[in-house]
Symmetry: D2
Subunit: 266 residues, 4 copies
């Protein structure tokens, strides 16, 4: 088609092509989910149905993007690890981040409306996400990234469990509960939960304590050849699409999870 | 809260803070809207109801983001111009792009379901958007950007109108219509439309030919002081929030549109 | 020539193409010039011959790079303003910065050895520069940049003049002089200089107080057409190469300097 | 010191902090060295003395920057590999590139004037370098980078040797020699050299065929602990400063060179 004299404005566009052979992690994060949770009356400290919506949403993402090998999430965030050779959108940063945030949000709305037909999403308060793309150069840094997120889940959940137990079981005001927990260590919070609320934190559900792991599983894994023909690439893509997706609530800080799945960080 | 030994992985995050005092344009673009249009049975060449969904979606964006001063869109894309002093998300590129694409998509779903209660969005085919952030250093380049988009709208709409008229009115196959239009100039297409389909392109609806402009209007505009107190900033923000938003289908290539609205490019 | 299977490593190279139509400023800065000044026994607070070496070096830069329209420097730094349409090295950031620092350093060595034949540069202590490239989107920010540098020159020179006068004329130790000046305002330093050292700062040489401006001058300036033929571009390049370069020690914060030279910021 | 109202212009400065834990390679490249070689009457195809100047210059770089673990060069270019944990200038791209190009150029001038006292560098034609910084995420890509440069050295040297032999020994014009070599493979060039010029390329000096490797050597290498105290870091820095620097003209494509020196890519 004809080009106009205005075409030159495209020269102002900038692309950041992410460094090849690095591991891409995309973290989507709910925007203003405190208010969202209030508006749609989430249970405290954890709303099981809302968590299910998040996990199903992430599950849909793995179906829509075969390059995702692993996802980890808790609360209103999810981190997606792409396979190292990922060439999606030529590894363009803005395209990856904006596409992921957009898919995440729409999938969330659809999953929500299915799970909460009595409380459908309305204009007044919509769920949206931002997305951050980060590259990690090697396996150790990827593992440390996911350890960071799982430790964060643990710290937040322990605090929230203690906080809401003091409010709901001991009749404290939120201000009193906040004061009671200020400056406490993890061991203190465990102690407070046990002695004041009769709760053994160890017995809390794993999905709350560990968060949720979604991982593409291969029954038989064979390291692919370094140089693949196009037909072999197609076959691998098909394998990825068909792979089972496990939903787990397990420790991903220790080695076991990773050594059992060599395809994650090869 | 306690910090874990894994915190160091944050050092791998990168931010692109957009150059201050440049004009930010964010263009959202429908992903795979050809298939989306087929799936939800859009009328050809233009589906008025689907266009209305897009325009209402963009209108909602102007309500949600007071920093948007102008939006222009046609088909499945929309460009948003932020006021030059915009400090939203500290002008972080990824945050802006991922937030806009996410809001756009969710708003679209809600508007769609309101407009098409008979054909609600389902998992099988979802509307998503990517978003690209571009900075322009001065008024001329901003105007040329929007001229580029409006010329593009015209070129596409003339082609599509001619193509689908040949198919729908003259009974051509799509292959025949494509062949008939190959290599033709604008004047040729006008001629073909008139002689073969009895259509005077000039009489086509402006919303198809010009696209849609959404602009924040101020009855009385006064250039603000260079240095504003926080109270003055708050007052301006309130003014922006309350400003009328016009929906127009007019020429934005010529000077008039811009000289009548000095607040757009100050 | 034949390509090897290792060529793919070029894909890891990244380029930052500076935004078109912004004003490029390149600031070169001496590396470790305190030690350099000690090693080559600079006079304090200002060494006229060393300053002459810097200024001649910068003058050579304007001869070597016709795209430089203005340079401002003092002490061991110089800032070069490129004409707004500059396309040197396709506006690639690293190429611009590394080329400027390299030229600056070699030119400095040659100028130094000519000015100080008795104290030629040796391996023991070499003069080197780093270079930083910054883009400014409009005339005001460019002017504020150069104002910033000239204010900085003034602040540093007033301090250094006061400090070394107290040491050299009043016999203070450097520690005593530092203490005497701690927390003083500009007016205090002027007063100290006058009452204790008999020096009227206003009578100090302009080259020390204002720094040095190198500017390409045009006797008759005519705004060029927006669209230039290649022949016209060649003619303009020739004009730039032949233009006189003035060396001034004047105020570049006020308007006069700039309004008299409309070609600097057009 | 007092801050002026112009300080805000610093906000326009941008930094690219290179991704941690990636291998940094800095390649400096002579600017316009064809003309430089003509001006200073280099011998063709290789000028031994000029090569010596380059190699001594690079050697000085390894002395000035203890973070360089390896350098490889030929003709007018040199590539420097930094140790993976390098924190020089906080890994700021522009600072690294501009400092390296500046040091390279000044060192070259000093080495040149020592080696060629009869032909000192003058204003008419100065040696300058640009510098490009690239990050590689793993050992394989670093090795492939250096293989790429050594293959390039071989290809260029074989061509140049054949070309200048045809001119100097067979009395061809440069145009005739160019034509004779057009489209030839390596094997053809070897054949031409042997049959027409009586030269066995295999017997050419290794420094021409392989280029030059400068490598910091450790008699006893022990992998350092993951977590180092400041004192241990100081000790390692001292070791790096004192390490012998070997100058080699060997194959760096095969494994031997790298497996013998585990400290290069750990």
């Amino acid at each position: 088609m004809a080009k106009s004299r205005f075409e030159y404005v495209k020269q102002f566009e900038r692309e950041n092509f992410l460094l090849p052979q690095t591991h891409i992690v995309i973290r989507v994060d709910g925007k203003g989910f405190h208010k969202f949770a209030d508006h749609y009356r989430f249970e405290k400290p954890n709303d099981r149905r809302a968590l299910t919506v998040m996990n199903r949403t992430a599950h849909t993402m793995l179906r829509q993007f075969p390059d995702i090998v692993l996802a980890y999430g808790d609360s209103d965030e999810y981190s997606f690890l792409m396979r190292r050779d990922c060439e999606l959108f030529e590894r363009r940063e803005m395209k990856l981040s904006s596409t992921f945030s957009s898919h995440m949000a729409v999938n969330y709305v659809l999953q929500w409306n299915r799970k909460f037909p009595d409380r459908p999403i309305t204009d007044e308060r919509i769920p949206t996400f931002d997305a951050r793309v980060v590259t990690y150069p090697n396996a150790q840094t990827v593992r440390d990234y996911f350890s960071w997120r799982q430790v964060d889940c643990h710290i937040n959940n322990l605090y929230n469990t203690a906080f809401w137990s003091l409010v709901q079981k001991c009749g404290m005001s939120t201000a009193e509960a906040e004061k009671a927990l200020k400056g406490t260590l993890s061991s203190d919070k465990n102690e407070i939960l046990f002695t004041r609320c009769g709760i053994n934190y160890n017995n809390e559900p794993e999905v709350f304590k560990k968060g949720t792991v979604l991982v593409r599983e291969y029954a038989e894994w064979k390291e692919p050849e370094a140089e693949l023909t196009d037909r072999q690439k197609q076959r691998l893509l098909k394998l990825r699409r068909k792979a089972t997706i496990s939903e787990l609530h397990v420790d991903i800080i220790k080695d076991d999870f990773w050594t059992e799945r060599p395809w994650l960080l090869r």
